[in-house]
Amino acid sequence: MDTLILYLSVGLFTVGFVYRVSTWFTRDAWYLSRVGAGRVGPWARLQALGRGVSGFWKGHLLLKVIWECLKQGVIQVRLLEKNRFRWSMHMLIFIGFLGLTLMHGFEQIISERFFPDYYSTLNPYFFLRDLFGLFVLAGLAMAVGRRLVMRRKGLLSNGMDYGAIAVLAVIVLSGIFLEAAKISSHTEFMDMVDEYAMLDDEEEIEALEAYWERDFGLAVPGERGAEDPDLLEMGQEIHEESCMSCHSNPRWAMTGYLLATSVGDETALHFDRAGAVTFFWWTHYLSCFLFLAWIPYGKMFHMFSTPLSLVVNAVAGKNGGAEALSIRRSLALDACTRCGTCSQYCSVQPAYTLIQNPLILPSEKITFFKSRAGQKELSGDDFARARQGVTLCTDCGNCSRVCPSGIDLRSLWQHMKGDLLQSGKSDAMFLSPLSFGSCMEEGGVDSELLVPAKEKLAGRFDELSDSQRVIHIGEGASENEFSSFHVEACFQCGGCSSVCPVADTVDDPQESLGLLPHQVIQALKLGEVEMAEGAPMIWNCLTCYLCQEYCPQGVLVTDLFYELKNRAYRRTGEGQRLASGHRIGSGR
C-alpha cells in the first residue's frame, strides 16, 4: 500500500515536472492578443538550448554555472540583498526542509550510505532532525506573520500561498506528533525491547521500563508506587548494555520529547492504545507524498524554476536572441514565488487602491497570465481587466529591480503593451504619458495604432461640426458646470489660441484640431459640452499651460482641457464600474 502511494506520487511528480519544463519550449508569455510578432516555435527553442548547453565546454562557462548555482541557489544572494527578513525566513525553511529531506527522507539512499554510523535515533542525527523541523516551523511562522502584517500594506495572498505553508506545516507537525507518540508509546517500547534488547526476564523489562519512564518520557500503564533505586540502577545498566549504542536520550529530540511529556501519562497511554503512532505515521507519510506529487503543479515548483532562472540570467545575461528570450520569458512565469515584493513597490499602487483591479499589480498579473498560458485568447471582462492592468504601468521598472527571483518583469509588461498596441486594442488610457515608455522603445509608437482608442473618446466631433447645424444659444447651457474654471469670464480675445504652440505647428488647424482653444471655451459657454469634449484639440494639447498663463481673464484653460479629457474618458464607458464594484477600462 505505502509503496503504491510512493510510486503514484513519484509518477505524478514526473508527469507534472515534464509538463512544466515542456511549457518553457512551447508557451508564450503574453496572451492579450494573438498578433504578437516574433513568436518562436518549440524546435527553434530546443536548438537554442542545445547551442547554449554546448557552449558550456568553452572557456570557464561551466565553472561560472557552478559558481552561480552556489551563489543564487544555495546562498541566495539576491534575496539577501533585497530583504534580510525574507532571506532569514526562506533560509530557515530551505535549510530545515533540505536537511530533513536529505538526512531523514532519503536516509536509506544518502545518510546510511555516506555516514556509516548513521542511526536515526542516535546523535547528532537524532537532534538534527528536530532542529531542522524547528527551522522549518520558525520559517513558516515568519511567512504567515509576514502575510498577515503586510496585508495592510498591499500584499495579496491567495489559496496557493497559504496552501503551500499549510502543507509544509502539516508535514513537520505530523512528524513531531509522530515522534512524541513514539517517545511515550509503551507499545513501541515493547516492540523495541523484543527486537533489540532480547530480554526474557520480566524483572529486567520492568527495570528498563522504570528507567525509561523516569528519564526518557515513556508512559507506562499501571501504578508502580514509589521509586525503587535498585530497580532504576538495574534499568540503567540494561539500558547502557542494550539500548544506548543505538538510542540517544529522547530529550535530544526536544520538540517531540516536550510534547510527549507535556500531555501527561494518562493522555499518552490513551493515545497509544488508540493507535496514535499509526495515525501520525500515515499523516506524515501521506502529507510528504502529497507534497511531492503537488510540487510541479503549484508554487513550490519555484524550488527548481527560480534558481534555474537566476542562474540562466546571471550566466547568459541578455544574450542569445529571440529564441533564448522566449524560453527565458516562459521560465520567468514559473520562477515567480508570489512573494508579492513587486506589488509592494509598484508605482501605480494608488491606482489599485481606487480601482481594485488586482491585475494592476505585477504579482497578480504574472499569476493571471501563468494560469492563462497557452489557452484561448482573452475576451470579455478578463480581457478588459488584463488590458487595464497592462496599460496602467508607468514603466518604472521597480518590479524588476526588487524581484528576488530576478524576473525581468518590466520587459514582460513592455512586450504585452506592444502587443496590445500592434493589435489596435489599446486602452484609451494609453492616450496619456503612460505611452511615453513605449515611445522610448525601439521603433517608438505609431500613433495611427491609437486611432481606435481615440475615436472611442473623440470620434463624435464630425457630426457635431456640421456647419448647417443650428446652435441655439442659451439652450442647454449649464451655468455652473465649468464655472470653477472661470469659463464665463472669457471674452473671446483669442489670446490662448495665438500662444498655443500646437495651433501654431499643425498645417490645417480646423482639419486636425477641430476647434482652437478659444473656440473650445466658447462651445462650453454655449453649453455644447460634447462638441468641446470631441474636439481633437484637447487630445493634441501639450499641457504646456501657455494659454492659461497668458489668459487676461484668468480662465484655467489647460486645467479645463484636462477635465474635458477626464470627462470624455468617463463618459464613453472607460473607467466605469463593473457589477462587481470594480472600475474597469473597457468601452463595451
Binding site: R152, K153, Q344, Y345, C346, S347, V348, Q349, P350, A351, T353, L354, I355, L392, T394, D395, C396, G397, N398, R401, R410, A428, M429, F430, L431, S432, P433, L434, S435, F436, G437, S438, C439, M440, G444, V445, S447, L450, P501, V502, T505, V506, W539, N540, C541, L542, T543, C544, Y545, L546, Q548, E549, L556, D559, Y562, E563, K565, N566, Y569, G575
Partner: protein, 289 residues
C-alpha cells in the same frame, strides 16, 4: 527639515545618470538627501484620464514625506508640476482633502500640507546659490554654447508653481553661466519639448522637438541643457547620429564636470562621454574624459 529625493518612474528606468550626477553634486555641496521612502508614481501620467488616481498618487507621496518629516526634492519637471497642482487642489478643496485622507488613513498616512516640493534646479539656484557654485567650479566650461530647456511644467502655471521669477525666467541661464556655459537666447525657449504628445500624436510631437533643437542650432548651440527626464529623453530620441542637432545633457552632469568630478561618479557612460566631448567641443573638460 531635510529633503528626500524623489526619483519618480522614468529616471530610475531610463536615465540613471541623472540621478547619479544629482547625488554626486549634492554630496559635493554637503547636502544629504537620505534614502527615499517607498514613493509611488507622482500621478502625472494619469492626469489626462483619471484625476482621482492622479491626486491620490501625489497625495500619498506628500503624506509619506510628511510622515518622515522631510520635504521633497524632485528631478522631473512633470513630477514637479503635478505635485504643485495636487498641493494646490488639496489645499483649496478641503472636502477633497478629507476624501483623500480617508483613503490614506488606511495605511496610517495623512496629507496635512506641510511638505514642500522643490525642483533640483530651483534648489541649486536658490538654496545652494550661484556664488557657492562659482566657488566650486574648477574647470569652467568656457566656450560651450547651450540652450536651456526650462520645461513647461516647471514654469507654469506660475501662480501655483511659485518660482518667484517675475517676467522672463532666468534661473537656468544663471545656473549655466555660473559654470562658464554661454546660455543662448533662442526662439521658443520657454516652449514645450513635445514629450507629452509622444505616442498620442508622435508626428506632431517630434515636429515640436525638432523645431526647438533647430532653433538652438541656429544660434550656434552644441547642446541643450535639461533638468527633466521627459524633455531629455524626448530630445535624445529626436536626434540622430550624424545630424548637427544639439545633444541633450542633464544639468547636474555639466555642473559636476565643471566641479571636476569624475565622469564615472556622474553616471556618464562611455558611449555618452564621446558624444558629450564633441558637444562640449572646446571646453577643457575634454581631456579629463
Amino acid at each position: 527639515m531635510g529633503y528626500q529625493l524623489f526619483s519618480g518612474c522614468t529616471i530610475p528606468s531610463r536615465l540613471g545618470g541623472y540621478r547619479d550626477s544629482t547625488l554626486a553634486v549634492l554630496e559635493a555641496f554637503g547636502v544629504d538627501v537620505g534614502s527615499e521612502s517607498k514613493f509611488n508614481c507622482c500621478g502625472y501620467p494619469l492626469r489626462n484620464t483619471d484625476r482621482e488616481i492622479y491626486l491620490l498618487s501625489s497625495a500619498r507621496n506628500l503624506a509619506l514625506a510628511e510622515k518622515s518629516g522631510s520635504d521633497i526634492l524632485v528631478m522631473c519637471k512633470c513630477c514637479f508640476g503635478s505635485f504643485k497642482h495636487a498641493q494646490n487642489a488639496l489645499n483649496q478643496d478641503l472636502q477633497l482633502r478629507d476624501e483623500v485622507n480617508a483613503i490614506l488613513s488606511r495605511e496610517g498616512l495623512e496629507y496635512r500640507g506641510v511638505a514642500r516640493v522643490t525642483h533640483i534646479l530651483s534648489f541649486l539656484r536658490h538654496e545652494v546659490g550661484l556664488e557657492a557654485i562659482r566657488q566650486r567650479v574648477v574647470r569652467p566650461l568656457a566656450g560651450v554654447k547651450a540652450g536651456a530647456q526650462y520645461g513647461c511644467h516647471m514654469l507654469r502655471p506660475s501662480h501655483i508653481n511659485e518660482l518667484n521669477d517675475a517676467g522672463v525666467p532666468e534661473f537656468f541661464d544663471l545656473l549655466l553661466s555660473a559654470i562658464g556655459v554661454e546660455s543662448l537666447d533662442y526662439k521658443r525657449k520657454f516652449d514645450c519639448c513635445g514629450a507629452p504628445l509622444n505616442g498620442i500624436n508622435s508626428v506632431l510631437s517630434k515636429k515640436m522637438t525638432l523645431r526647438k533643437l533647430e532653433a538652438i542650432r541656429e544660434m550656434g548651440g552644441s547642446l541643450v541643457a535639461t533638468g527633466c527626464p521627459y524633455c531629455h529623453l524626448q530630445f535624445a530620441g529626436a536626434v540622430e547620429e550624424g545630424d548637427a542637432l544639439p545633444r541633450p545633457v542633464v544639468y547636474p552632469q555639466l555642473l559636476g564636470l565643471a566641479m571636476g568630478l569624475s565622469p564615472e561618479s556622474l553616471g556618464i557612460e562611455a558611449a555618452d562621454a564621446e558624444t558629450l566631448a564633441i558637444a562640449l567641443d572646446g571646453a577643457d573638460v575634454r581631456q579629463s574624459m
